[in-house]
Every structure is written in structure tokens, then in C-alpha cells.
């Protein structure tokens, strides 16, 4: 069962991967281990971001976030795409542009209720589309 959601392009490109979903805020500085690319905080503690589609409500925390995202990308540990419900944070957008990570913001608010960690998600930033294919019928 798959559902489509709309969003606004921040960084061009498209990618597909397993979703890692945070209902609230996410800060690249503090919430992910820069060495392993593993999440340090609930509800996805221990999950690796490499190859994943990261979905969360809004960016929070320090302006060091974009440097952490860049460092993860250089090590091949960065997410393949990012979607946020709130408008994109400029600081993070800089990191995503430099690391060429497709990024969609202002996503439909329903997305966070529907998408679960583990679902397969395809993001096409140029189309501003987020397709969620449910892993298990929920």
C-alpha cells in the first residue's frame, strides 16, 4: 500500500531508501554519532542513517549541523534524502546542497502520522513528491 505526499524542493535530485522517522525535532549536532552515523536519541537510537531517508518535523540545535551532515556524507554515512514538515533550516540546506542530498521541506503534515521507520520511501525533490510504501499494513 503506497501513499503520496507533497513537499517543496530545497535540493534537487531523487532517492529511495528505508525511512527513519522522528515525530519531533532533529539536530545533526548531538543526535547522531559522527563516527558511526548512528542515531544517539529516541525513538531511533542505534539506527544507522547511511542509505536511509530521514523524515522529521523540524531541524533544531546548533549551526554545526551542516558540518556534521557534510562529514557523514564524506564517510558515506549520510542519509540519501531528507524530508521535513516545517520549512527547511538554512543551515542544514547548505550542508545538503554541498553534499548533493535531495531535500524536500514543507511536507504535508499527514506524513509524520503515516510514515513509519522501516517503510520504503522515494523522494523526488524536483517533483516535490514523497512516496511512502508501507512495510506492514498499519
Amino acid at each position: 500500500m503506497s501513499r503520496m505526499f507533497k513537499g517543496r524542493k530545497v535540493v534537487r535530485g531523487s532517492a529511495e531508501g528505508e525511512a527513519v522517522v522522528f515525530p519531533g525535532g532533529f539536530s545533526f549536532l548531538g543526535d547522531v554519532d559522527m563516527d558511526t552515523g548512528e542515531v544517539l536519541v529516541a525513538p531511533n537510537k542505534g539506527t544507522a542513517l547511511a542509505g536511509k531517508v530521514l523524515i522529521y518535523r523540524e531541524t533544531k540545535g546548533s549551526s554545526g549541523g551542516c558540518v556534521v551532515l557534510m562529514t557523514l556524507a564524506k564517510k558515506g554515512l549520510a542519509p540519501v534524502a531528507i524530508a521535513t514538515v516545517k520549512p527547511a533550516d538554512y543551515n542544514l540546506a547548505e550542508g545538503a546542497i554541498m553534499a548533493k542530498i535531495p531535500f524536500v521541506c514543507d511536507a504535508d503534515g499527514e506524513l509524520l502520522g503515516r510514515a513509519k521507520t522501516g517503510d520504503t520511501v522515494k523522494i523526488d525533490a524536483d517533483e516535490g513528491s514523497i512516496e511512502v510504501r508501507q512495510l506492514i499494513a498499519s
Binding site: 524542493k9 530545497v10 535540493v11 525535532g25 539536530s27 549536532l29 548531538g30 543526535d31 554519532d33 559522527m34 563516527d35 558511526t36 544517539l40 536519541v41 523540524e58 531541524t59 533544531k60 540545535g61 546548533s62 549551526s63 549541523g65 551542516c66 558540518v67 556534521v68 557534510m70 562529514t71 564524506k74 564517510k75 516545517k86 520549512p87 527547511a88 533550516d89 538554512y90 543551515n91 542544514l92 540546506a93 547548505e94 550542508g95 546542497i97 554541498m98
Partner: protein, 419 residues
């Protein structure tokens, strides 16, 4: 985006490929957010490349080697070690040597190597309404809120702005985006808001609610400058606040109506003592009576006045065995403090006056400690008067933390125990 003739020439390489590449990224960035044109920028606070970020220092050295030169006054943010006393913080030597390579790169680009998160304390106080580009969330929010200068939350692209003098005209550079969104009515008695840690806790509570929007705060006593710095740092830690208004204190809005530009606040919240105390409960994870092995003052970096205060409190005292006690500031203020005897008093007690860095930016992050085979977590229990420090150390260094006032921090450093 509509570019001027000069900007188009820069984009196509008339002034070299470093400038062209920078313009390409800035135009892409502006298009991503619907900017109509580029703005001229007069000052940059630049992201000093930290050796703990793989490839970051090499990137800085290569960039300078390509002949990059800054076109505007540019100061630098913090590093992962104290370049004037490289091994004093316990950093592995190879990391210190790697980090030292950025200084030559920065100086050759014409950058003023300040290596601090509080350039405003060194006199970089851009005028009201001036357009700048800054990194470091506590400096960004101070420039916007306390001075009325205009910057977004800068990151890597601050480098591109420094070498072109340009930034897309968008976000907080535009009047309509500087309007308040949430009203916070503080009902905390004034005497509970007469200390640095209290303003940090207040900021942390509000930031957690307002996220990346613009809080307007009423009902607070007039803050000292360092309280406002801590308050902003906290807002940008629990949230990603870029600008706040305190009518009667901050310059851009004399009244609540001005702050909301005649519109209604989207949300109104009350903030009482209960909300303030919950921040301390959240940050205080050290069991009562437990040993403490780290105390930090100076997040963001301390002013000369704050160093004087710490020196007065520590003169003739002794820091307990096994406690690392850092008092962080910038390299220029440390020189002043040396001349005035403050460093002698603080270090005579067994504390360390650290410049260029702080625990959060240092080698003590778990990821770096593992990489260099050091004790992990490198700190067991840290006491500090800064909520930004307690939040990031708890996660990045993996230690237990406690947030308390400056005097109590010093008492704990002397006793070695969290009472």
C-alpha cells in the same frame, strides 16, 4: 534570481574560479528559498574548520592554497583545541598538529583568527540593520536580537559569502520575517532571574516550544549582556531560534505591538517558576553526593568581567583532586586577563583558562575518543552554569550533567562532589 552585471561576471569566472564556485552555490541556495537578488554583506563570522571533522582541515588548507581571499571583515569561530597551548586540554598530539594547520590558511585568506563563539565581546558589533553572515548559533541570535544586525543561521556557505561579499536577500534579512510569532509572558519573580544559569534555563524552555520561530518575551527584569548571550545560546540549543524580541531591552521592538508588527501572536504561553525548574530537573542527571570530574564555565566564551568574577571566587582556593575545571574564553580576552592577574588566580587554584575551544568542540566527543583509543566516555559527571554545555556534553561526550549557578559550580569544583 536577478543578478547585477558585476555578479554575473563573478558567476562566470571573471574573478577566478574560487569566486565563481562560491557564486554558483549562493545562487543555488537563493533559488532554493525564492530569493530575488543578492545582498551586499559587511561582516562574516566564519566556521573555523575543526580537526575532529574528517577532511575539514585539509579542505581549509586547499581552499586557501587556491588563492581564496576574503572581501569583508571576517572573524573565526571555535576550534577543537587551544592553539596557543595545544596539549593543555589533553588532546591527542596528532589531532592538535592537524588543527594548527588552519591558522596559516586563515591568515593567508585575510581572516582575523579570533577562534571564539563570542566575537561580539571583541568588538565585532555590526550596526543596527546591517547585513552580515554568521555561523555559531549563539552569535547569530545575539547579532540579530541584541544588536538588530541581520543574519540567517550561517553554515559552510559563510565561506562563500566571505570571498564574494554576497548573500541571497532572504530569511531574516527581510523585515517581514523578523516579526514575532509566539508571545511568552514570564511570571517568574525578578529575583529568580538575576543569574546566568537562570537566563539559560529560561531560554532552553522557550526554545523547546518555539522551535525555529520568533519568540517575544515580556515580564523579565533588565538582563546583563552575558545573561542575554546565555539566553540566546539556550534558545538556539533547544530550538533553532535565530531572533528573539524583548520589548524594552532589544532594539528592534519597543513594544509588544511593534514586535508582532500589529498582528496577533500565533500562540501565547505563560512561563513560571515551575517551567524553569523542569529545565534543571531535565539537565540534572548526576546523583546527589556523587563525585564530579569536570566543571565548565565559559559557554559561550567568557567576557573579561566574567573572568574577573571567577578569579575573585577562586583566589586562594584549591580545586579538588581529579576535577578538570575549564574556564573558557577567547585568546585575546585571555591575554587581557593575564595582564590583570586573573589567569594567575584562576590557574593558581588548579583550574585552566582555555581559549579557542571548549569541551563540546574538543577531542572529548565519544566519536573522537573511540577513534583515538581514549577513555570513553572521557568525562563521567560535568557541572556547568550553561544549558548549552550541559545539553551537548550529555549527548556528545556522554557524561552525566548538572546545571547550577556559577558560584555553586565553583563550590563543586573545590569539594569535588555534587551536593
Amino acid at each position: 534570481m536577478k543578478l547585477t552585471r558585476e555578479e554575473r561576471d563573478m558567476l562566470v569566472g571573471a574573478e577566478g574560479d574560487v569566486v565563481a564556485e562560491a557564486m554558483d552555490c549562493l545562487v543555488q541556495f537563493g533559488d532554493a528559498f525564492g530569493a530575488e537578488q543578492l545582498a551586499d554583506v559587511e561582516y562574516c563570522h566564519y566556521p573555523a574548520e575543526m580537526a575532529i571533522y574528517a577532511g575539514s582541515v585539509e579542505d581549509a588548507v586547499d581552499y586557501a592554497a587556491r588563492g581564496a581571499k576574503v572581501r569583508v571583515d571576517t572573524t573565526t569561530s571555535t576550534l577543537c583545541c587551544d592553539l596557543e597551548r595545544p596539549l593543555s586540554t589533553g588532546i591527542p598530539e596528532p589531532l592538535a598538529e592537524l588543527q594548527a594547520r588552519v591558522e596559516h590558511a586563515h591568515v593567508s585568506m585575510g581572516i582575523l583568527d579570533t577562534y571564539t563563539c563570542t566575537p561580539q565581546l571583541l568588538g565585532w558589533t555590526p550596526n543596527f540593520g546591517s547585513i552580515i553572515a554568521s555561523v555559531e548559533s549563539s552569535a547569530i541570535i545575539y547579532f540579530n536580537s541584541a544588536l538588530g544586525a541581520r543574519t540567517n543561521r550561517g553554515g559552510l556557505f559563510t565561506r562563500f559569502t566571505a570571498v564574494t561579499g554576497k548573500y541571497p536577500l532572504m530569511g531574516y534579512l527581510l523585515d517581514e520575517n523578523r516579526r514575532g510569532t509566539h508571545l511568552f509572558k514570564v511570571t517568574i519573580p525578578a529575583e529568580r532571574l538575576q543569574a546566568y544559569d537562570a537566563w539559560c534555563a529560561l531560554g532552553f524552555h522557550i526554545g523547546g516550544i518555539v522551535g525555529g520561530e520568533v519568540p517575544v518575551i515580556t515580564g523579565v527584569p533588565k538582563p546583563r549582556q552575558d545573561w542575554l548571550i546565555g539566553f540566546g545560546a539556550a534558545l538556539a540549543t533547544s530550538g533553532s531560534v535565530t531572533l528573539f524580541h524583548i520589548p524594552g531591552v532589544t532594539p528592534e521592538a519597543d513594544t509588544v505591538e511593534d514586535a508582532f508588527m500589529g498582528m496577533q501572536p500565533r500562540e501565547i504561553h505563560e512561563v513560571g517558576v515551575r517551567e524553569l525548574d523542569t529545565v534543571y530537573e531535565k539537565m540534572n542527571t548526576i546523583p546527589r553526593g556523587a563525585q564530579v570530574d569536570f566543571v565548565t564555565l565559559g559557554c559561550p566564551h567568557y567576557s573579561l568581567e566574567q573572568l574577573r568574577y571567577a578569579a575573585d571566587m577562586l583566589r586562594g582556593k584549591k580545586v579538588a583532586e581529579g576535577v578538570r575545571f575549564w574556564v573558557c574564553t577567547n585568546r585575546i580576552t585571555r591575554r587581557q586577563a593575564e595582564a590583570l592577574g586573573y589567569v594567575r588566580d584562576i590557574e593558581g587554584a588548579g583550574a585552566l583558562v582555555v581559549a579557542d575551544t571548549c569541551p563540546v568542540e574538543s577531542h572529548m566527543r565519544q566519536s573522537t575518543c573511540r577513534e583515538y583509543g581514549m577513555k570513553t566516555p572521557n568525562v563521567e559527571a560535568m557541572v556547568t552554569d550553561s544549558v548549552k554545555m550541559s545539553r551537548y556534553c550529555g549527548d556528545l561526550i556522554g557524561c552525566k550533567t548538572a546545571l547550577v549557578d556559577t558560584e555553586a559550580c565553583i563550590r563543586v569544583a573545590i569539594s569535588g562532589r555534587w551536593e
